[in-house]
């Protein structure tokens, strides 16, 4: 039983700078195993009393159940591994089920939750009210009990109606890693969500870790909410751009998300016709590098795409490199440039409003000419389109998630065979069934085109916005 492990109980609260994952990690590595094995650390940070550190010989299992006076009658949904963590957390909040995730990178040299995962937990904590989380001493086990999604309501960690979320410098994921799941929470929040991402870890470009760029989020993911009747007052401001820093870690960007359209339930979606590609748009960005890189990327990409779709425009955006604090002994206020590079984001729109996106940025180590980036990106876009269906793989979790949160009705969505067969999508389906959502119905799309597409039927939960119902 894993409960016999040492535990470190710690509900994070948004306004305390508090302990980060690194503290945990260093703590765990510094404690020798044998003589502390008998001791169980139990630490409670409550709102009223700051720190209560006590040594006790009781297992955390009993104390934690005692603590949860208002515990749900349902047992926690149990997951393993760090994969799909963000979506599990999001659906935990949306369905209101407590989750327990164990074996988070147990055999890695750097075990437990990664900095970006901790950061995401903090973000969820700040947009919800009453979330509790317990992270084991090594960080390999996480128990998360969701609260209500309050959004950026004043007095709840938001200053001036905006939640300031700082990302740590060792964050290797792009800001879209946070944005896309957060956007799925946002329509079901009680108040509008306004989050300002800043700090030395905000990467706005696409990353080698597989995150899309902010531009693609804005142009290829957020417009999809329109099909669910969510379209008002949604903005994604890129205040400062940044590519990944050295070794793909850190960046100095700044992004603000405004999601002001809250609904009780998402509309039922029937999307069975992918249509034909009508136009292609894109953004070429260059941060701290020559603007000619943009022109070169654009020219190559257009050379490939223009014969296929004459309505192709790629806009160029050039900005200087962001500065982040880099204090040293001699100069405590020293700053350094970070996040130089360039990249391209392309979005294809079909005649029926389906969006397909592609993202390529230069690697953090550099050494790739802009022509290659442009070519890769154009081919990637064509590949995404060739996968078929109405939804690109990158947007599939969002679409399926919104359909799940819809009215108690069957929605249908045509997806490419490869998109359905994607590891992430299948994992999502399994997770959703664990959360108690009805399973998806899959059948072949029976159109004469014989595209090999699959029609996914998703039954909405019909529960939707709990916070809005209560309010």
């Amino acid at each position: 039983m894993f409960y016999s492990h040492r535990w470190f109980l710690r509900p994070l609260s948004g306004d305390t700078p508090g302990l980060s994952a690194d503290h945990h990690r260093t703590g765990s590595s510094s404690t020798p195993g044998d003589f502390l094995d008998l001791l169980f650390f139990f630490c409670v940070f409550s709102v009223a009393s700051w720190i209560l550190l006590s040594l006790s010989f009781t297992t955390i299992y009993t104390t934690s159940t005692e603590n949860r006076t208002m515990a749900t009658s349902q047992p926690p949904v149990r997951f393993t591994s760090h994969k799909n963590l963000v979506w599990r957390l999001v659906f935990s909040v949306l369905t209101g089920r407590t989750i327990q995730i164990s074996q988070i990178r147990p055999s890695s040299s750097n075990p437990g939750l990664a900095p970006h995962e901790i950061s995401f937990l903090r973000l969820i904590e700040s947009v919800t009210n009453g979330s509790q989380m317990e992270i084991s001493y090594t960080g390999t086990i996480l128990v998360f009990k969701p609260g209500l999604i309050t959004g950026s309501a004043p007095g709840n960690g938001a200053s001036g109606g905006v939640i300031h979320h700082q990302l740590p410098a060792n964050c290797s994921r792009g800001v879209s890693y946070f944005l896309v799941p957060l956007c799925l929470l946002a329509p079901f929040s009680k108040a509008p969500i306004r989050v300002l991402f800043s700090g030395p870890g905000v990467i706005t470009s696409s990353t080698p870790t597989g995150d899309m760029s902010v531009d693609s989020v804005r142009t290829a993911v957020l417009p999809l909410y329109n099909q669910f009747g969510i379209f008002n007052n949604i903005e994604l401001r890129v205040l400062r751009r940044s590519n990944p820093g050295p070794n793909g870690k850190g960046g100095g960007g700044e992004v603000q998300l405004v999601f002001g359209h809250q609904v009780r339930l998402a509309k039922t979606l029937h999307m069975l016709n992918a249509g034909r590609i009508k136009r292609i748009r894109g953004v070429a960005y260059s941060v701290g590098t020559s603007g000619s890189n943009n022109a070169r990327m654009i020219e190559t990409a257009r050379g490939i795409l223009n014969p296929l779709s004459p309505d192709t425009y790629i806009f160029s955006d050039m900005s200087s490199a962001p500065l982040v604090d880099a204090p040293d002994k001699t100069n405590p206020s020293a700053k350094k440039k970070i996040g130089l590079g360039f990249g391209l984001s392309l979005v294809a729109e079909s005649s029926t409003g389906c969006l397909y996106s592609a993202d390529v940025a230069c690697p953090p180590s550099g050494g790739q000419p802009p022509e290659d980036i442009g070519k890769q990106c154009a081919y990637q876009l064509l590949e995404t389109i060739s996968k078929g269906g109405c939804v690109a793989p990158a947007a599939a979790p969002t679409m399926l998630g919104l359909m799940t949160m819809g009215t108690e009705d069957v929605g249908r969505l045509q997806l490419g065979r490869e998109v359905v067969g994607d590891e992430a999508v299948i994992q999502l389906a399994r997770d959703l069934t664990k959360f108690g959502c009805p399973g998806w119905g899959l059948r072949d799309a029976s159109d004469d085109k014989s595209t090999g597409d699959v029609i996914v039927s998703v039954v909405g939960r019909g529960i939707g916005n709990v916070g809005r119902k209560v309010a």
Binding site: R218, T219, L222, P223, N226, F231, I234, E235, L236, R237, V238, Q256, R281, V283, A295, I298, E299, R302, G303, N306, P310, Y313, I314, F315, D317, E349, G353
Partner: protein, 290 residues
């Protein structure tokens, strides 16, 4: 450049000097094409070529290329094909055009796409903006006509009481002036043009007379069993509160002759409570202490 000239030759006749420039490359091209053509014709049907154009050119090229080769005529016929070849080149130029045009990707589209708002799926701002204006232009005369009729109808409805005795719809003379006066009042004129200045007793007399007249009319009608229109709602102007005053005047009292005169009611309005409480000082005190 060369391609252009070719096209011109097919349409109009030109000076020989220019054609001389064209001819040599055309002949060089055509010899190869001639071979192909013969081969093609051997296999399939003979190819038809546009006669007039060829005629014009062939005359010409006979002159030029007499000395050059025996097959000058057939060669000249094929200058059309060589022209097509050059059109292929033009295509390449077109392609380059397209790629260079992205630099002047129009500003509006850029603004629409790069703003922090979501790019709307079905948006085409310029087109949308233009469409309505176009429509407007299309049915402009109709629309204007309708508006004119509307205005005329509204006026007729409002001023119909003036037209009771007039036979014409457009009022004349006194009625016209009255109608104008009504319109001006509707547009915001403060008072009627026919509002004469007179002593107040005089005006009161007129008002009283009008009232008695109206009363009599109504009484007569009632006695005779005639149903009349409902009496117009009387607006009590005097009770509508303070009249509007100039800026900077006193908010209370009456300023006259360099002094601010406060009436009793003014004083009461300022310290009404104290005056009311003055009557019973003995009772007020213990209440205050408690």
């Amino acid at each position: 450049m060369v391609g252009k000239r070719k096209r011109e030759t097919s349409v109009v006749s030109r000076s020989t000097a220019k054609k001389e420039e064209d001819a040599p490359p055309a002949v060089v091209d055509t010899s190869a094409h001639d071979v192909f053509r013969k081969f093609f014709e051997a296999q399939f049907e003979p190819i038809e070529t546009p006669k007039e154009a060829v005629d014009d050119e062939s005359d010409e090229q006979e002159d030029d290329s007499d000395g050059e080769g025996s097959e000058s005529e057939t060669g000249s016929e094929w200058s059309g094909v060589s022209g097509e070849d050059e059109e292929g080149k033009v295509e390449v130029v077109e392609h380059r055009d397209a790629s260079s045009s992205e630099h002047l990707a129009n500003k509006k589209a850029r603004k629409a796409f790069m703003s922090s708002k979501l790019p709307t799926l079905t948006e085409k701002p310029t087109a949308v903006k233009r469409a309505p204006t176009k429509e407007k232009e299309d049915d402009d005369p109709k629309e204007a006509d309708n508006l004119k009729h509307d205005l005329a109808l509204q006026r007729l409805l409002k001023e119909s009481h003036l037209l009771e005795d007039a036979s014409d719809l457009a009022p004349t003379g006194k009625n016209r002036l009255k109608a104008l006066d009504l319109r001006m009042q509707e547009l915001g004129a403060k008072s009627s043009l026919y509002h004469q200045k007179m002593p107040s007793a005089h005006r009161r007399g007129i008002k009283a007379k009008a009232e008695t007249k109206e009363d009599k009319r109504r009484r007569d009608a009632r006695e005779n069993g005639i149903i009349l229109e409902k009496p117009a709602h009387k607006v009590n102007k005097s009770s509508s509160g303070r009249r509007e005053r100039g800026v900077g005047g006193p908010s209370i009292g009456k300023f006259a002759g360099g002094t601010l005169n406060l009436s009793k009611s003014d004083i009461f309005s300022v310290k009404g409570k104290a005056m009311a409480g003055r009557k019973k000082p003995s009772r007020g005190k213990p209440k205050g202490r408690r």
